[in-house]
Amino acid sequence: MTDSKQPLSDGSAPAEASSPEAPEGTTRREFIATATVGSALLLEACRHAPPVEGPPPGTAPAELEVTFKVNGQLQTLKVDPRTSLLDALRERLGLTGTKKGCDHGQCGACTVLVDGRRELSCLSLAVMHQGAEVSTVEGLAQGDTLHPLQQAFIEQDALQCGYCTSGQLMSAVGLMSEPCGASDDDVREAMSGNLCRCSAYPNIIAAIQQVRRLPKL
């Protein structure tokens, strides 16, 4: 239900989505801005539609307040306890770089870092993250300087449609601080929770290995 609202901005590559501080004036930014206006209209239309899923009248659980850091910024949200971390990031904080694929922990598109470790934001409630530090793909680049993995993904052509890419990137960032053997097979195994239906796997592995072989991340 959520992703269909923002088909155009969802199609943007993560490297692009991750540099909100970039100088303005690029065609891409205008494109995204236009898409966002479109989405906002759609969203408005959705508000008037009856909810597809929701508690019966009178049984709605109280909203809970949760405070956590996202990409270094303190955020406080009031959420229905059912809100997944993924939906909180996308729908409440506008961080749509993190993707909703299967919403059941089977595809890895929603991977983010929680307190430095890669986790699935779809299988987690926002309220479980009181005081946590969450990192998303939007936080990878330092201004105009891409994260080495983002740069490597571009150089190795590690994507086609790009939908899984932010999850691949965040999973790869998490992998960098995990024990993992040196071989391509070791990386394949460690990245098996991130599906890519374009099957860009060989180039994804090449990109990750390129960064792992750098002297120091």
Binding site: P55, P81, G108, R118, L120, S124, S171, P179, G193
Partner: protein
């Protein structure tokens, strides 16, 4: 997802008390199993008691040389812990063969014990399932049952226990420490998971409100020489079609003791005691390993699509024993 009340708990006693008093309440730890099933409408708790901040995440050595795995220790931390890697390599291997890197970072020891079957009919609220809805019937008996169990089955349920971690724990004869409304107690691993029988909705020996505190793995020096093998449809990130956890201790050219447990083929983690007995005292040989493998699958009761699991599990057992036996 049904609405629920979310509460965070900071104490074991109050968590147990809270869930015990509310029949519709349940514990929330890693969330990787529970939240998935809540999205599917299979689990519909009215209260979630988040126990993730309880001080139960430690992995520590026990005085007898065993290792205590805190219920909230993450799968990845257990798999990489030096005590586990050194003393129970098959446990580390089993954990790393399960799920994905992300899920292992979230999933806990206690949650792994409590995880529910991946039977497609259990997960689909549109189909009858005795486990989900007692008395409604089993869709798998005459349905697509390629992934289902061949050991410990009943006419009410043939759902497979999905855990990798539990397979070596069964072989090791671990103990599950729990705290319930009646206080603390220790449950032998073999008694923790129940056979489906006529009550497949009852899956563990835990009473409502009881909380897993730790899994205590006993000292077993022979387990330093152990192996977990898993056969699945994909090379990674798939549940087992069959798996085996094996310990083989050799002394003077003979098998002093063996430990064997199977995953992916049983309705619960399956200790193959009969096979262990076949091995004890024998000189290792292909024939001896074959006989043990045969004994392990004795009484197997396959359905239309899962007959291959009998052969597959036997081959895995022989392969595991051969690899362990060749390194003595």
């Amino acid at each position: 997802m049904n609405p629920f009340q979310y509460e965070q708990s900071l104490e074991v006693d109050s968590s147990v008390d809270r869930v015990s008093r509310a029949p519709e309440a349940t514990f929330l730890a890693g969330g990787t199993g529970l939240l998935d099933l809540m999205k599917l409408g299979v689990e519909t708790p009215a209260v979630l008691v988040d126990v993730r901040r309880l001080p139960l995440a430690q992995i520590q050595e026990l005085p007898d040389g065993g290792v205590r795995l805190g219920a909230l220790a993450r799968n990845s931390d257990v798999a990489q812990h030096p005590l586990v890697r050194e003393r129970y390599p098959m446990l580390s291997q089993a954990l790393l063969a399960g799920a994905s890197g992300q899920i292992r970072n979230m999933a806990t020891v206690g949650g792994n014990l409590m995880q529910r079957t991946r039977c497609a009919y259990f997960r689909d609220t549109a189909t009858p399932c005795n486990k989900r809805e007692p008395g409604s019937g089993c869709s798998a008996l005459e349905g697509i049952n390629r992934g289902h169990a061949v050991l410990g089955v009943s006419e009410a349920c043939i759902a497979t226990h999905p855990s990798d971690m539990c397979v070596p724990l069964a072989a090791l004869g671990a103990t599950v420490r729990v705290k319930g409304p009646q206080g603390e107690r220790a449950i032998p691993f073999a008694d923790f998971h129940l056979l489906p029988g006529n009550t497949p909705h009852r899956e563990t020996a835990l009473e409502h409100g009881a909380l897993v505190l730790s899994v205590d793995v006993p000292a077993l020096p022979a387990a330093r020489h152990s192996l977990y093998l898993k056969a699945r449809d994909r090379a990674s990130y798939a549940f087992a079609l069959a798996s085996v956890a094996a310990v083989l201790e050799l002394e003077g050219g003979r098998i002093r003791q063996a430990r064997l447990a199977l995953g992916g083929v049983g309705t619960r983690p399956w200790r193959a005691s009969g096979a262990e007995q076949k091995l004890a005292g024998q000189a290792p040989s292909p024939e001896v390993f074959q006989a043990a493998a045969k004994a392990a699958l004795e009484g197997a009761s396959p359905r239309a699509h899962n007959g291959f699991k009998v052969e597959l599990a036997q081959r895995l057992i022989v392969r595991a024993l051969t690899r362990l036996g060749g390194r003595s």
